[in-house]
Subunit: 383 residues, 2 copies
């Protein structure tokens, strides 16, 4: 049921002709209240897309009534004209919904550096508003897909209240969010001062630790809407746990559908002096093309793990680092460990466990292998 | 003539059985004096290979008489036993040459995490010493190749003195040197206090600005030997210019032979507030897999250039950045510029010119595209 699993939300997804082949490409999610509490996290890229600039403004007040999303065009690096397009989109949706533009967040995804065909987009918004329904969650999830092979949704049901969500994203998965658009909804009663930090914690421990290809997008947006329709007020801990679960569920779906990937790789760095050290070391592995190609080739090339970690400033002594791949400690004390031939990499799931022997902290970064299909897909994307 | 172009140097390359297929894999370069001034630059990777640890020690005194190099095994991450192997190699070569082990630098390249077959290696050193000749430069250059498709040599002839050199390296090309072994020789009269800074300047402006795949190796070594046999004493400027030219020549040969590459990409960032900003922004582009795959696909996807630069802390305003690809300014003021269809990317050489409009400094980073062949070659490397 996606974003319409909680009470008091309607959604729709329609084909407006932004994409070739007539696939759905415009989605609208509406919060029917009674509350209209909202929070969001955006890309840290210094070339934020027009819809990111717009949505940051409207969400600054901690409230929003609707979200308009489109695939088929990122409206990024499109200058003042692109921002006017986003503003016009919000105005058009607001008029159709009987709201003000300030009540409407906008999110876009697709090719950077191309203006959106506004006539198609506004017609699509009109059609989507007309199609809004309490069963529209799945259609909305399909309409935001780009190179995604499957729609991504989550439902976290609790005692009398629910968190629902949808996500898109299959490439440019990198720190400070992947290239992705995420809308979360809940019918719990949640004050703004509780919702915002809960969302930040949930994204920091899920989307921000997925680093599929090291490329940070210009459009990343995660929005959560809370309407209190259930009348239930969970504790901050209960709400946080539900948002954590929803974001992690969606993040793992993003990882599993990453462009051209054949492996889901969980790199856990333990024995770190700080969590930041663990994240830095894990990310260095997730960004190392030689390691990622080796794993694509089912090669437990632990030397490339050390070579990657060796480029970081994380605290460790070279002679004390252990590396375990799928349960086999192939590197002990920075040198040759157990027989690498004992490592089975034929499955999709790969775990790399690095022990820095420098402390008690740990963190996990999730990534994918670097495959021939990834290169093919991304070399042909816009041509 | 490679490293034997200057007077007073002998070299050899032989097949010792470290590589399969019986390719040459052991090289020796000897300085016959009269001087034995030397300097070196090594990888900054925190898991330096055994030969790097050894050669740092022997070169600390600013002098060395010979360099032993092997392909077919990096002797990296091999622990104390690996260091003993390197020490034994130097001892063996020293005995054969009538020198002390302290006079012999060692460099290795190949797979990480595997011990060297010492019986083959020492036999190869014996054979190489027996084969030393003033014409042996080309043979030595061939013996240090790994995935290189061609040997890489340079000769810089000056008035009465010469700089010669050889290099290997075709992958793991990254900052703070590529995965590469380089030996430079000169018959100029050069005091140690002149040679060392000249080598640092030359490497900083050549090898350290080649970032083919962002992966920093454990074995990178650049050694320069100066014997004064010509009796000519160039000025520090003249020597520096010759070393700069030799290193840039070799660096461009590394770039042109990078694993699986189909494009040589020069990313020049100008209008930067500092040279470091220019290098940071250029390197972010060189590391961006989505940009590198787009270029492999002949796609002038300038949005990926901005997305990459947008992840850095370089000084710029998003609305003032221009991007020119092969002469076409496809992005102006951070937005859509001239028609991208006018960009011809069918050749091997690609120039990306980024103007940050934030200052007067500039720098160039050289990289390659990310091709299907790169993935294939590196996924099959050790299996």
């Amino acid at each position: 049921m996606s974003v319409t699993a909680p009470q008091g939300f309607r959604a729709a997804g329609v084909a407006a002709g932004l994409k070739s082949f007539g696939d759905p490409d415009v989605a609208v999610v509406v919060n029917d209240g009674p509350d209209d509490v909202a929070a969001a996290v955006f890309t840290t890229n210094r070339f934020p897309a027009a819809p990111v600039l717009w949505s940051k403004q409207v969400l600054a007040g901690g409230r929003v009534r609707a979200v308009v999303l489109n695939s088929g065009g990122a409206n990024a690096c499109t200058g003042p004209e692109g921002f006017q397009d986003t503003h016009a989109t919000a105005e058009h949706a607001a008029a159709a919904l009987g709201l003000g533009a300030i009540d409407v967040a906008v999110a876009s995804t697709g090719l950077i550096g191309v203006r959106l065909p506004m006539d198609h987009l506004t017609a699509g918004v009109t059609a989507a508003v007309a199609a809004l329904s309490a069963d529209g969650g799945p259609a909305a999830a399909r309409a935001i897909m780009t190179t995604d092979s499957v729609p991504k949704t989550t439902v976290q049901a609790r005692e009398g209240w629910t968190v629902g969500g949808m996500a898109k994203g299959a490439g440019m998965l990198a720190p400070s969010l992947a290239t992705m658009l995420v809308v979360l909804t809940t019918d719990a009663v949640v004050p703004a001062e509780v919702l915002e930090p809960a969302l930040r914690h949930a994204t920091a421990h899920s989307f921000e630790r997925v680093d599929s290809d090291g490329c940070l997008s210009t459009n990343d947006t995660v929005v959560v809407l809370a309407n209190g329709a259930s009348g239930v007020t969970p504790t901050a801990e209960e709400l946080g746990a539900a948002l954590d679960a929803a974001c992690l569920d969606l993040a793992m779906q993003l990882l599993a559908d990453a462009e051209g990937s054949t492996k889901d790789i969980a790199i856990t760095v333990r024995g770190a002096a700080t969590v930041q050290d663990a994240l830095t070391a894990g990310r260095a592995c997730a960004r190392n093309n030689l390691l990622k190609t080796a794993l694509f080739g089912n090669d437990p090339n632990w030397g490339r793990v050390l070579a990657a970690i060796g480029t970081t400033d994380a605290a460790f002594e070279a002679g004390r680092v252990d590396v375990t791949i799928n349960g086999v400690t192939v590197c002990r004390g920075g040198a040759i460990g157990d027989d690498r031939d004992g490592v089975d990499l034929t499955g999709r799931a790969i775990t790399i466990d690095v022990d820095l022997a420098a402390g008690t902290e740990q963190a996990t970064i999730w990534t994918n292998d670097l495959s021939i299909a990834y290169v093919h897909e991304n070399s042909a994307y816009s041509t």
